[in-house]
């Protein structure tokens, strides 16, 4: 099941607010996305300090069979990326909602959170897909 403590995009990313006061959020991809991709072998993440833009491409994720774009659920500054993924990209398959997190971002426009969907909405979205 998709955890209800976070929000989702229709591009299959999740975002969890880590600290509301500082607008700090963690971002990753969903369990549905990792299952569709298959074995993840490589991830190209944005650089620390770079700016990401709401629903713009922020990186790439590559499985044995295919490569997919990563989209940023929000706009903001990347303050940390999950360096564990460079050696162990399979963490995204094994634990997409925890150890397989991708990056931390400081939101520049918290209003954008209103455009994200809930766990329930995401669930029914993937069931229709």
């Amino acid at each position: 099941m998709n955890p209800s403590d976070r929000q989702y995009t229709k591009e299959h990313e999740w975002l969890k607010i880590q600290d509301a006061d500082s607008n700090l959020a963690i971002v990753g991809i969903t369990d549905y996305a990792q299952a569709q991709l298959g074995d993840v072998v490589f991830i190209d993440m944005p650089e620390i300090g770079s700016t990401v833009v709401h629903m713009d491409k922020m990186g790439e994720i590559e499985s044995v069979k295919a490569v997919s774009d990563l989209f940023s659920p929000v706009s903001g500054e990347v303050i940390k990326t999950n360096s564990e993924l460079l050696d162990r990209p399979e963490l995204i398959n094994e634990d997409p909602y925890n150890e397989g997190w991708i990056l931390q971002v400081i939101l520049s426009d918290p209003e954008e959170l209103n455009s994200l969907i809930s766990a329930e909405e995401y669930q029914s979205f993937t069931e229709q897909a």
Binding site: G38, D39, V41, F42, D44, E60, E62, S63, V64, K65, V67, P89, N93
Partner: protein, 367 residues
């Protein structure tokens, strides 16, 4: 609507992800491509390849027909043996590649690719009509039988447990590129010691009524179900060409580096162009490439040298066996041996590449 093999339900019941391929709805993966590739390299993997064609060519002119339309000769193939070859048009463009088995003096089995089956049937029929009318015919059994491949170092040991050759010996006594009639669970099957993974293994032609039985008995005996995703990685590691990628109607066997599967004398369809290319060379040549890291070159990505495009990728993937990214592609012949300054444009990033000898992977020789 895509065709379904008789094992379709078995695949979906075991949670395989299905994809359309060559007009069929086929499993692309079960547990995951990496673990499936490892199963084939180290133990044994099981593939439903019933989407591939099973064309029986029969009649007193069958040998003459195949000598004309295949790049490898049928007349010198002994009964009980098999060969790999290509089927070319008059310009030596590759219509398909296939393994063919000599079943009897005047009876052969051809295994065309799923997406090319109709084309191959029409092509062969046109030559029968032209030169061998009444002399032989094509019996397409694709929808009436099933084809299951067991591949990997444990394949023969697994088959020996549940299968005997009709002459009383064991499947492990069947030599490479040979076939035998066998009894598997009281079912009559044809076992060919062939495959498409670079490992030892067998391909099993079985009546569709018994395919599910055979599948379950092989998984129970220790073979791991695998999908087309793993099959594609395995064949790439072994540098086996895939029609639509390394070979196509726009490529000849010589350009594709497959001259060892081409007769060097006599007339056959495409031979004029082939002999000319053997003599003068070709503009482009198929090469093997390695890039460091795990981001893989994919089909159609440009290959560059000192900023100029000199070729393009036909297949590429992360190789779990070698833990690096590998690719095959065509480059201009004059650059086919020069790694210096070679780069691949991977979605806008220029990544250094190195030319390597094919195949990327060869199975270890066993005593």
């Amino acid at each position: 609507m895509d065709l379904k093999t008789v094992l379709h339900q078995v695949h979906t019941d075991s949670g395989a992800r299905m994809v359309p391929f060559g007009g069929w709805d086929m499993p692309v993966q079960y547990g995951g491509i990496i673990s499936e590739v490892a199963a084939v390299r180290k133990q044994a993997g099981l593939f439903d390849v019933s989407h591939m064609g099973r064309l029986y060519i029969e009649g007193k002119s069958a040998t003459n027909l195949l000598d004309l339309v295949l790049t490898s000769p049928a007349s010198t193939l002994s009964i009980g043996k098999a060969r790999y070859c290509m089927i070319c048009d008059e310009s030596a463009g590759i219509i398909d590649d296939t393994i063919f088995y000599r079943l009897a003096e005047n009876r052969y089995l051809l295994i065309p690719n799923a997406g090319n089956r109709e084309h191959v049937i029409n092509w062969l029929q046109s030559w029968i009509d032209k030169d061998f009318a009444g002399g032989c015919f094509i019996d397409d059994q694709t929808l009436k039988s099933s084809l299951i491949a067991i591949q990997g170092p444990n394949s023969s040991a697994i088959l020996d447990q549940i299968c005997t050759v009709e002459n009383g010996t064991t499947p492990s006594s069947i030599k490479g590129f040979s076939w035998a009639d066998c009894i598997l669970l009281n079912h009559k099957v044809m076992l060919g010691r062939t495959g498409y993974t670079g490992e030892d293994g067998f391909e099993i032609v079985v009546d569709s009524d018994h395919a599910v039985d055979v599948w379950h008995s092989l998984t129970n005996a220790g073979a791991t179900p695998c999908g087309l995703g793993a099959r594609d990685v395995l064949r790439l590691e072994a540098a086996l060409p895939l029609h639509g990628h390394e070979i196509s109607i726009n490529k000849t066997p010589i350009e594709a580096g497959l001259s060892r599967f081409v007769r060097k004398s006599g007339t056959f369809v495409g031979s004029e162009v082939i002999y000319d290319q053997l003599d003068k060379g070709t503009e482009m040549r198929l090469v093997g490439l390695k890039v460091s890291g795990r981001s893989a070159p994919r089909a159609e990505y440009p290959i560059l040298r000192q900023g100029e495009q000199i070729g393009y990728i036909t297949s590429g993937s992360y190789s779990p066996t070698l833990d690096t990214s590998i690719a095959m592609g065509y480059v201009l012949d004059q650059y086919a041996l020069i790694s210096e300054g070679l780069k691949i444009d991977i979605r806008g990033k220029l990544i250094e590449a190195e030319l390597v000898q094919l195949p990327f992977y060869s199975r270890p020789r066993r005593p």
